[in-house]
Amino acid sequence: MAIGAHPDPVQFADNRRLSMTEPEYGRFYEYLLVEAEMLDGHHYDAWLALWDPAEARYWVPTAGGDPVSTTEGVSLILDDHARLEERVYRLLHEGAHSQEPRSETARVLGAPTICRLTDDRYEARTAFTLAEARRQRQTMYAGRIAYVLSRDADEQIRILEKSVHLIGRELGIGNLTFIL
């Protein structure tokens, strides 16, 4: 799954998702809800452990030219695993003034559409809203998220990619140093 693919509901017009059993679907959805809960609870180490170290790609595009070649276009965030680990380290140690105090967040994930990409890879897409409160101000964020997830023989799910397409990002964004 190439990063930069734009959420496109037409791709779900075929019936691949229907081949997924209800318990299987529920397992993925619950995984995403647990991920959201970890972030709202600032459990960043546990959250980092959800990621596949070799392929991790956490992407928040800017407005305008997306899907854009990331070699020629700037993103708001484009983290591989090493940078994701730095992001978490920064949040867990003193000196990150923009998260002292931390952002309090509550996010709501819609029920995702999920399709199987290969034998062990799945794509999940959903919309979300997130309220963030910090230092006398509350901000609403909303957007679409696309995940690429892997599931191995032991049923262990991992995050390979998470792309967060914020709406309104062309209007100017304030402090986005918590994790979406």
Binding site: T62, V68, G73, V74, L78, E86, H97, N175, L176, T177
Partner: protein, 421 residues
């Protein structure tokens, strides 16, 4: 009459809180600084083809930068000459014409009025030649950086930029063909604080950016400001309020820690060969090191920091937009430009590891300045040891408040000039 006495607000070594908090002063800044000074608008590379346009602003006024059929750049006010509608509603695009959506008045992309629906109603009274989109009284460019002014200027752009031109030259010299391209998109950020905080400050880094220093140390990279008398780190204030920070030893360290490792890659070797062909080996190294971070502010709304071009857009006394346009090097291997972008994202943007902590300090500053029983901010750091050169340039240690004092002098001079200039 503004009712504001600038001499009460700016002294050689301190400034009054109200210049950052008072909405009346903000309004006067719009009139006397943003609507009278040269201001940066866009870069040539953002309108490369005939018909390309971008919409930018000077203060609250919307300005269209277009490239006409003749290939020339035109800088036009985004206001229909009929009843004042904004004729262009998109941020950028390509169009031969701008048609006002309200009553259909149509302008060519050089500004000429070419169509007025049902013109009979005007009899012979409508002279279309005098009703084109209003061009700015002044517009010019340097190294592709397009500036404009809403008022006639006593000096041309070249004189206005002065020695700052050499720093822009350094920035573009990292491209083998001497060109940068602003086509990588934009990070658009906002903070709740005054626009004048976004200055050139060499004093804050090890405190405000403690988390970044910690990350650098974890990677085994040098952080902080090593003392090296042979390579002093300086703060420089050029005439007209342009200011620069020069990294000294830190800049030299970049050669070993960042530049040389990159040159060991295949793309790095190809890139260096191109620069070597243009400059020779020694000069190519100097260009690579110097161009890494020009760190210059061009008064009042442009900065060139590391690999990006930054535009400061004041929205209110307590609200500011900061737009970051990473610059790609023209005719350079893609991996070199990709590294510039990834390095940029590491520190800058609303989710970077550095810039949000600056914005946090600016917001806390705005909060702190509400306590104004003791209303003065001290800007005296290094006042006793700064040096003034014959051309008016002032030089001090990088941690001295040379840039702040210089910008406040330029600010006070502009704010004290009467409205009937």
């Amino acid at each position: 009459m503004s009712g504001i006495n600038v001499d009460d607000l700016v002294r050689p070594d301190k400034v009054h809180s109200s210049i950052f908090t008072d909405p009346k002063i903000f309004e006067l800044e719009m009139q006397r600084i943003f609507y009278r000074s040269w201001a940066y608008l866009a870069h040539d590379s953002e309108v490369p083809e005939v018909g390309d346009y971008v919409v930018r602003s000077i203060g609250r006024q919307s300005v269209i930068v277009t490239r006409s059929e003749a290939g020339e750049v035109h800088v036009l006010l985004n206001r229909c000459r009929h009843r004042g509608n904004a004729v262009c509603s998109l941020e950028s695009g390509n169009s031969s014409f701008f048609r006002c959506p309200y009553h259909g008045w149509t302008y060519k992309n050089d500004g000429d009025l070419v169509g007025v629906p049902f013109p009979d109603a005007y009899g012979d009274s409508l002279d279309k030649r005098g009703l084109g989109l209003t061009p700015l009284p002044e517009s010019d460019s340097y190294q592709g950086f397009i500036f404009g002014s809403l008022a006639p200027q006593p000096t041309g752009l070249s004189d206005y930029l002065g020695p700052a031109k050499e720093v822009i030259d350094i920035f573009v010299a990292a491209s083998p063909t001497g060109k940068v391209e602003l086509r990588a998109g934009c990070q658009r950020t906002v903070f709740h604080g005054n626009w004048k905080y976004v200055g050139m400050d060499g004093y804050h880094a090890s405190f405000t950016h403690r988390s970044v220093y910690n990350l650098l140390k974890r990677k085994g990279l040098r952080a902080g400001r090593p003392k090296d008398a042979s390579l002093p780190a300086k703060a420089v204030a050029y005439p007209n309020g342009h200011c620069r920070l020069i990294g000294g030893r830190n800049t030299a360290n970049a050669l070993e820690e960042y530049v040389r490792p990159q040159l060991e890659t295949d793309e790095g070797k190809a890139y260096f060969a191109l620069l070597e062909g243009k400059y020779g080996a020694d000069e190519a190294f100097r260009v690579l090191v110097e161009a890494r971070d020009p760190h210059i502010g061009i008064w009042p709304n442009l900065q060139i920091i590391n690999s990006h071009v930054r535009v400061i857009r004041p929205l209110a006394a307590d609200r500011t937009e900061v737009l970051l346009y990473p610059a790609l090097l023209a005719d350079t291997p893609p991996a070199i430009n990709a590294e510039r972008l990834r390095r940029h994202e590491w520190f800058y943007g609303p989710a970077g590891f550095g810039q949000p902590d600056d914005a946090e300090m600016f917001e806390r500053n705005q909060q702190g300045l509400q306590c104004d029983l003791e209303p003065w901010l001290l800007l005296s750091r290094g006042l006793h040891r700064e040096e003034t050169l014959p051309d008016g340039t002032v030089v001090g240690d990088i941690t001295d408040e040379v840039p702040q004092r210089s910008q406040m002098r330029v600010w006070a001079k502009a704010m004290a000039e009467a409205d009937d200039r």
